[in-house]
């Protein structure tokens, strides 16, 4: 348990007759970046709320930093969180909003300006929150989550509204935090965004766990694909036939053939195509990305 930042067992949450989270089980090791992915409405925020003691589970158990989620007072002083977007008092400045939370948590007030600088709001700290852009609000939310110098950081869709530069900064920040020993549990419906920074992935779909484990393990489960293109579109069907004859499943997508095979079969295909009088314009491996993997595992398109 000590090496586990989060563990949930048979955790469910039911709202009236709708099961938002259905008997999920997963563990998140300490000191890593864990991507919590799934489409909108898959139950990510509900799970995070349960882990923070904001809502009571209908069934099951959960532990955060080794403490049961029924007793959030035992672990929340070591947890930073931004759930469902940044929420602050519009009439207060960014600085004052952080001061409210710093006073509430009994954190050193010097951290407020430090964190505003860290998230790039150092010069806008005195402006009222209501004047902030969505990206600035998001940055303030991240600063608020970092106030306790957390052992575990839970961020719900932290890059919403950020420009590409901001997204890169957040990625770098999360990576740095993980390198310093902070466990980062970050959700997003944009799977490609988390693929880059995550060591570990928890995939959720319609309230159920699809996969939970190291991202390498997930990708290793997926068969590599060879993409073959020929100069003549009419040759594609023949490439499919050559592949199928060799025992590799192949389909035509747009102007190329996608063949489920290891890359070391590519030279064999190249020779077979040449012998058949086909000139290949491209022959390249394609490892599935997280998004494709997710769709493949869930059967969604």
């Amino acid at each position: 348990m000590q090496n586990t930042a989060i563990s949930v067992s048979d955790l469910s949450k039911k709202y009236d007759d709708r099961l938002a989270v259905s008997h999920i089980n997963f563990e998140v090791p300490m000191g890593i970046v864990c991507g919590f992915v799934g489409p909108n409405g898959s139950g990510k925020t509900t799970t995070m709320r349960m882990l923070l003691g904001l809502i009571t589970p209908t069934t099951g158990q959960g532990h955060t930093l080794g403490e049961p989620i029924e007793h959030p007072e035992k672990y929340l002083s070591r947890v930073g969180a931004m759930i469902e977007g940044p929420a602050f008092y519009p009439a207060l400045s960014g600085y004052e909003n952080l001061m409210v939370l710093a006073k509430l948590g009994g954190f050193p007030i010097e951290r407020v300006q430090e964190l505003l600088d860290k998230v790039g709001l150092g010069d806008r700290g005195k402006s009222k929150f209501k004047t902030y852009s969505l990206g600035m609000k998001q940055r303030l939310g991240i600063a608020a989550a970092l106030l306790p110098d957390p052992k575990l950081l839970m961020l719900d869709e932290p890059t919403n509204g950020l420009d590409p530069e901001g997204i890169q900064e957040v990625r770098a920040l999360l990576r740095d935090l993980a390198n310093d020993g902070t466990t980062v549990f970050v959700s997003s419906h944009l799977l490609s965004e988390l693929e880059i920074i995550s060591d570990y992935i928890v995939m959720l779909r319609k309230g159920e766990i699809v996969f939970a484990g190291p991202i390498g393990e997930l990708m290793a489960q997926q068969q590599p694909t060879i993409i073959a293109k020929s100069l003549n579109h009419s040759d594609l069907q023949q490439i499919v036939e050559i592949s199928e004859k060799a025992g590799h499943h192949a389909v035509i997508r747009n102007d190329s053939v996608h063949i489920l095979a290891e890359m070391d079969w590519a030279p064999v295909l190249n020779k077979a195509a040449f012998d058949a009088g086909i000139t290949l314009a491209q022959l390249a491996p394609q490892l599935p990305n997280l998004e494709e993997t997710f769709f493949e595992m869930t059967g969604d398109k």
Partner: protein, 268 residues
């Protein structure tokens, strides 16, 4: 809990809220206190609903706080609005989840909020008392009111007693606002319902059946502020009765709201 109070005071001291609230309190205090002296000879009366407060009553030791106790009801309505807004906005802004992540003790949040808003109300009441007594003192000679007894030991006792009564009443109004804020989770709904009930519905009910004045919450709190003297459409409610019935309303409401706050999911 001390941390919660400090955090809440940070929100309450923002200029728009602080000066807006104190400004409203001063406006009503000045208006009502001035009317008592400037309209002392008016046939329409110089008190609430045509009531006449004569020179004899104003010349008593308790004369200096006549205006202050009359304004108690308005201070109560202001407190109700502030307490309701400060509580319900945590839901509408979604900031309650931030508070609960930083301080998971929900009762600590609730009591810390209450204490900070009570301190805020105390500042408002103190300023209103000083301004009302000062206006009374300066307008009394023009209205030919004798102020000799105002600053005797009996006078100071009357000031102290009225201050305590108005404070109890205003805080109770505020707690009702907080209860409405917790139950309705919307500042507009909480304030509308509270003000509508206290200023309109109760008065209509009392106008239709005067004995109801002994059982309606707003009437009890107004009676506490005035020390049981007739005010705001009531013909006078015994102080101890008002304290008991008002206390039951506030106590039961506070328990229900606290239990709901403790048990309810924070899902917004």
């Amino acid at each position: 809990m001390f941390n919660v109070v400090k955090a809440e005071l940070r929100k309450l001291r923002r200029p728009t809220l602080f000066f807006g609230t104190i400004g409203s309190a001063l406006f009503f205090t000045g208006l009502i206190t001035s009317f008592i002296y400037l309209m002392i000879d008016s046939p329409q009366g110089n008190g609430d609903r045509g009531r006449t407060i004569g020179r004899e009553a104003l010349g008593l030791a308790s004369g200096s706080v006549n205006g202050f106790s009359s304004v108690g009801n308005f201070l109560g309505i202001i407190a109700l609005c502030v307490f309701a807004a400060q509580t319900a906005q945590e839901y509408t802004y979604g900031t309650l989840r931030n508070l609960l992540v930083r301080q998971p003790g929900r009762l600590k949040i609730l009591f810390g909020k209450l204490i900070s808003m009570m301190l805020f109300a105390l500042v408002m009441i103190t300023i209103a008392a000083i301004v009302s007594i000062a206006i009374s003192y300066f307008l009394a000679p023009g209205a030919k009111v004798n102020t000799e007894l105002w600053f005797t030991s009996d006078g100071y006792h009357a000031i102290f007693t009225t201050f305590v009564n108005v404070t109890i009443s205003v805080v109770a109004f505020g707690i009702i606002g907080m209860i409405l804020g917790l139950l309705l989770r919307s500042p507009i709904s909480a304030i509308s319902l509270g003000v509508l009930w206290l200023l309109i519905v109760e008065n209509l009910l009392i106008a239709v059946k005067s004995s109801l004045q002994n059982w309606l919450p707003g009437a009890q709190l107004t009676a506490i502020a005035s020390g049981g003297a007739p005010s705001r459409g009531t013909t006078g409610i015994e102080y101890s009765h008002a304290l008991l019935v008002g206390g039951i309303y506030v106590g039961v409401g506070a328990i229900i709201a606290s239990v709901l706050f403790l048990r309810r999911d924070v899902a917004n």
